[in-house]
């Protein structure tokens, strides 16, 4: 949650676990600080805070020095002292008026799954309106259609699978059109569900000959399932069958015994359990904790022709994501996005997904607060990892300039700037190393990483 830290809070530091050290767990700490995290009462107050935070950071670039100063005099005294020699009032007004959007009425496409939570909830909970936009969120029939409608400019921006903007920019499965990702929609939030009859086949080594469904070829679902199978010695191209199936049909196919399991976005997983046709074999976070799932994407053309609209849109999404990242808001969000206009699913299902207290399909109730989580920062190392997998499974042939593609598509720098303006604390770097099933990925050496896999298609 480091992204959403409050830089004004002198009690926060970068230690792991509970941030202040006074609570047993991070959850408990959040409970205690929940009051302070609540949204401010008015727009002016929020802008004031943002500007003051920016000034504060400029005056004390060193975190330690700033904290020491705040601790010694207290935040309100510090602000009062600050306004003596800096026109905070004027600066706030300037900030609030900055960049009126070129185009206010926008259309954003989404696929009805919980991954689209920030995009969807921003409409009923008023995040678009708050940033001066009038956005229609339009439900779309499938990933290929959402791609075509965004390319055709029917949509100004859209919910896409995290690898899709990379694929479109590279011209895989479509004409090459430069796309960009200013924000990751959600992290984690997928799962492997097996048909109830496979209750005893929990070891993937026994899965030879089974049929699995994934939603789209250029998806984290595809890469994670392939990765998981390959780590267990199953060649996803030879030993099992992987089929591209639209998510709602996955549940029906599982019921009809046409497939043995699927790796799908979350409310579909929970729906299969809710309907009593399958069980949760494992959450995708157990493969890679904190992996990106879906992204918020727009074409480069839209960004250059309407930069202020794009910035306002990104702010609204980042704002909504910050709201969604808090556990105490999740129930309200589940109710807001469940109606037919949005996801069109039973509230119980969405609540189980978003709160992380869920029935596992085997008779047990499990709790994992991070089952779905939200952090908008578009790490460029995520993009590099996806490119290695595209190459691993033969979707990209030949040499790839990993870094160049990642930096062109994943707009970490711009997002960092926007987040700083909003008073959030984005990470300093754009690349981070992470572990997928215990294997560490070093974004600086993608080719070495790729060479380390025994099962792969790439030559």
């Amino acid at each position: 949650m480091s992204t959403f830290d409050n830089p004004f809070d002198p009690d926060r530091n970068l230690r792991a676990g509970c941030a202040c050290g006074q609570h047993q767990s991070a959850a408990e700490h959040e409970q205690a600080t929940a009051l302070r995290c609540d949204p401010v009462e008015s727009e002016e107050k929020r802008y004031e805070g943002v500007v003051a935070s920016a000034v504060m950071r400029a005056m004390f670039p060193q975190d330690v020095a700033r904290r020491a100063f705040l601790k010694s005099v207290g935040a309100s005294t510090a602000l009062a002292a600050l306004s003596q020699f800096f026109p905070l009032q004027t600066a706030t007004e300037v900030f609030a008026q900055a960049g009126a959007p070129e185009k206010k009425d926008l259309k954003v496409g989404f696929i009805p799954i919980t991954c689209a939570t920030p995009i969807i909830m921003a409409a009923p909970l008023g995040f678009y309106a708050k940033h001066g936009l009038n956005v229609d969120v339009v439900k779309t029939a499938g990933w290929a259609v959402i791609r075509d409608k965004t390319i055709n400019k029917e949509y100004d921006a859209a919910h896409m699978l995290a690898p899709m903007p990379l694929a479109i920019s590279l011209g895989l499965g479509a004409n090459a059109i430069p796309f960009a990702v200013p924000a990751i929609e959600n992290i984690n939030g997928q799962g492997i569900v097996l048909a109830s009859k496979h209750k005893d086949k929990r070891d993937p080594k026994d899965w030879k000959g089974m049929k699995f469904a994934i939603p789209f070829d250029y998806s984290m679902h595809n890469y994670l399932l392939r990765y998981y199978l390959a780590e267990h010695g199953i060649d996803p191209d030879a030993d099992v069958q992987l089929r591209s199936v639209p998510p709602p049909e996955m549940v029906a196919n599982l019921r009809a015994d046409n497939i043995d399991g699927f790796l799908a976005p979350d409310n579909i997983c929970q729906r299969a359990i809710y309907d009593g046709v399958g069980f949760m074999h494992l959450l995708s976070k157990e493969i890679w904790d904190g992996h990106p799932c879906c992204s918020f994407a727009a074409s480069r053309e839209f960004i250059t022709t309407a930069p202020n609209s794009f910035a306002a849109l990104t702010r609204a999404i980042v704002d909504a994501t910050a709201y969604a990242s808090k556990a105490e808001n999740r129930k309200q969000i589940a109710e807001a996005i469940a109606p037919a206009n949005y996801i069109n699913a039973p509230v119980t299902v969405l609540e189980q997904v978003l709160t992380g207290t869920y029935a596992d399909g085997l008779g047990g109730v499990k709790t994992d607060e991070k089952r779905v989580d939200f952090d908008p920062f578009p790490w460029q190392s995520f993009a590099v990892w996806m490119l290695t997998q595209m190459k691993r499974w033969g979707q990209i042939k030949g040499d790839v300039d990993y870094k160049a593609v990642a930096e062109q598509v994943y707009l970490a720098t711009d997002t960092r700037k926007l987040m700083t303006e909003m008073g959030l604390a984005p990470p300093a770097g754009s690349y981070k190393s992470f572990a997928v099933m215990g294997k560490t990925f070093d974004p600086a050496k993608p080719e070495d990483y790729l060479a380390g896999f025994k099962i792969r298609k790439a030559s």
Binding site: K139, V145, P248, Y274, D275, A359
Partner: protein, 279 residues
């Protein structure tokens, strides 16, 4: 006698309907044994899992849901949730637009081809190749080139409903009785006048039969097209409810699609009767 036949047929229809509903109702009763589960777990599960309720809805569920829809057919809760009346309206408007375009193209063109043996032979291979193409095969191409999903849907309706009309018009025009044309020729009637006063009335029943086949095809296609592009329309409604795995609503949509299709067909049938003449 006729009226008694009608009454008897009506009675048989009702008996069949009742029998069908009865079998349906019995077939989807909950029969599966209810698994034992902790109450905490049961709260998180759906009725199928907890009460052994069949995944298929029964006629009573469908009836109740249908009543709900019929009571408020025109509500509008934003871009993705509109009443069934509005959805059907969108579909009918799309079918109407595509179909009218097809009429405007197919009938004059069919006339031309029917009156000229040369054109008829020359265009035949094209028509034969284009005619059997499935409507949905056109969809990606349309979406890609037209770059507008709603016009693409109209285009697909157009391209699919044009062939029966064209072929029937050609056939109708080409098979007007030679004697009538010869009489017109003897009376030195001009080509245009001959087309409107002799050929058109003679070919009208065949042309309208083609139009009747076309409207049926157009209505078949719109559901599939809207399922693919989404947005609005009865096809979108089916897709949206399928997404929600709500079979009840899918059944209601199927019922309504059938009723509207029948009405459209009846309208064209009435027109056909109007232009039919005894020989």
């Amino acid at each position: 006698m006729t009226s008694s036949l009608r009454v008897r047929a009506g009675l048989v229809s009702i008996v069949l309907l009742v029998a069908f509903l009865g079998v349906w109702h019995l077939a989807v009763r909950s029969t599966a044994p209810v698994a034992t589960m902790s109450p905490e777990y049961a709260k998180l599960m759906g009725l199928t899992a907890t009460q052994g309720k069949s995944a298929m809805p029964g006629p009573l569920d469908v009836g109740a849901k249908l009543w709900e829809h019929v009571r408020r057919p025109f509500y509008d809760n934003g871009p993705n949730d509109k009443g069934l009346g509005i959805q059907l309206g969108y579909s009918i408007a799309r079918v109407g637009a595509g179909y009218l375009l097809a009429v405007l193209v197919a009938i004059p063109l069919g006339f031309l081809i029917g009156m000229s043996p040369l054109l008829s032979k020359a265009l035949d291979p094209f028509i034969q190749v284009l005619k059997p193409i499935s409507p949905l095969a056109w969809m990606p191409l349309a979406l890609y080139t037209i770059k507008d999903s709603s016009i693409s849907a109209i285009f697909v309706i157009f391209i699919c409903s044009i062939w029966p009309m064209l072929l029937n018009t050609v056939f109708g025009v080409a098979s007007v009785r030679k004697e009538w044309i010869n009489v017109a020729r003897t009376l030195e009637v001009g080509t245009i006048r001959r087309a409107f006063t002799v050929i058109l009335p003679a070919a009208a029943p065949t042309i309208l039969t083609g139009m009747r086949i076309s409207i049926g095809i157009a209505w078949l296609v719109i559901v599939a097209a809207e399922m693919l592009v989404g947005g609005t329309g009865i096809g979108y409604f089916v897709w949206n409810e399928w997404n929600n795995l709500s079979i009840t609503n899918v059944i209601i949509a199927i019922l309504l699609i059938g009723v509207v299709g029948m009405l459209l067909d009846q309208i064209l049938a009435r027109f056909t009767r109007m232009v039919t003449f005894p020989e």
